[in-house]
């Protein structure tokens, strides 16, 4: 699926990164603990999180992720959006909770990826 499909499946609102909605994604990671993302993520392109601070965008950037989904309708602030834009990253928010959002994406073909 591509990022546009992620948005559709999660009934999510796009925050920024419209130009990258066609990027293909295969794997995702759901976590509020950025150290875990840094420890275990390998090639997952989508990060689902309920955490909202600038380090979420930095962590995703370090991991070369292409899209961050904020669950439970959480709103990133302006600094986060500005950084995501500079990195060409897609930000979106969904009203679904973490478990439901992950389940919906799994059901539609996204997987957890490889961990090392």
């Amino acid at each position: 699926m591509d990022v546009r499909d992620v948005m559709r499946v999660l009934d999510a609102d796009l925050i920024c990164g419209e130009e990258n909605l066609d990027t293909e994604v295969h794997d995702a990671c759901g976590s509020d603990m950025m150290s875990d993302v840094l420890a275990f993520v390998k090639n997952q392109a989508v990060l689902l999180t309920g955490l909202v601070n600038i380090q979420v965008v930095r962590t995703a950037d370090m991991m070369d992720m292409v899209c961050i989904v904020f669950v439970r309708g959480k709103e990133p602030d302006e600094d986060m959006i500005a950084l995501a834009k500079r990195r060409g990253m897609v930000l979106m928010k969904t009203s679904h909770r973490m478990f439901t959002a992950c389940g919906l994406l799994w059901e539609n073909g996204l997987r957890g990826g490889v961990t090392d």
Binding site: D32, M33, M34, S35, D36, L38, A39, L51, N53, I54, Q55, V56, R58, T59, D61, M62, M63, D64, D79
Partner: protein, 149 residues
């Protein structure tokens, strides 16, 4: 490749000051290093290892040590990183290296860090890591990632 003085002519050095008072800026140095390495055409896997190791180190400097400075040296076969602070030091390095062991305050955990994964992650993503620390004086972490160049 070496110069007449015996120094590798393609060695690059970058220095960064890490502001310990501003958590929102933690990661700026790592982000900059990542961008520079990409420009140099370093392989994505090496860039990834360096950025993650450095980023965790930078976060540590802000959480535990009120900032410090980072020196990054890029030579043809390796990237070395030295992260030096004058913070409170690490009393028990072996313990600090254990996954899940942390002295970070709860407020740090609510920001997505402080789960005791920082130093283990730095070790995991660097090829060599050495820590020198004296309680009350500070900590210096040396990390090397080989580029295979």
């Amino acid at each position: 490749m070496v110069s007449e003085e015996g120094l590798p002519i393609s060695t690059l050095k970058w220095t960064y000051e890490v502001d310990g008072s501003d958590f929102t800026r933690a990661g700026e140095a790592s982000s900059n290093v990542k961008k520079n390495l990409r420009k140099l055409g370093v392989s994505p896997e090496v860039i990834r290892k360096v950025s993650i190791a450095l980023y965790e180190g930078e976060i540590n400097m802000v959480i535990h040590a009120d900032g410090g400075h980072i020196d990054v040296e890029v030579s043809p076969d390796k990237i070395t990183m030295v992260l030096a602070d004058t913070g409170k030091g690490i009393a028990d390095i072996d313990k600090a290296m254990q996954e899940g062991w942390s002295t970070a305050p709860d407020e740090v955990r609510s920001l997505g860090f402080g789960a005791g994964m920082g130093l283990p992650n730095m070790k995991k993503y660097s090829d060599e890591m050495r820590i020198e620390s004296t309680v009350g004086v500070g900590t210096t972490v040396y990390m090397t990632v080989y580029t295979g160049g």
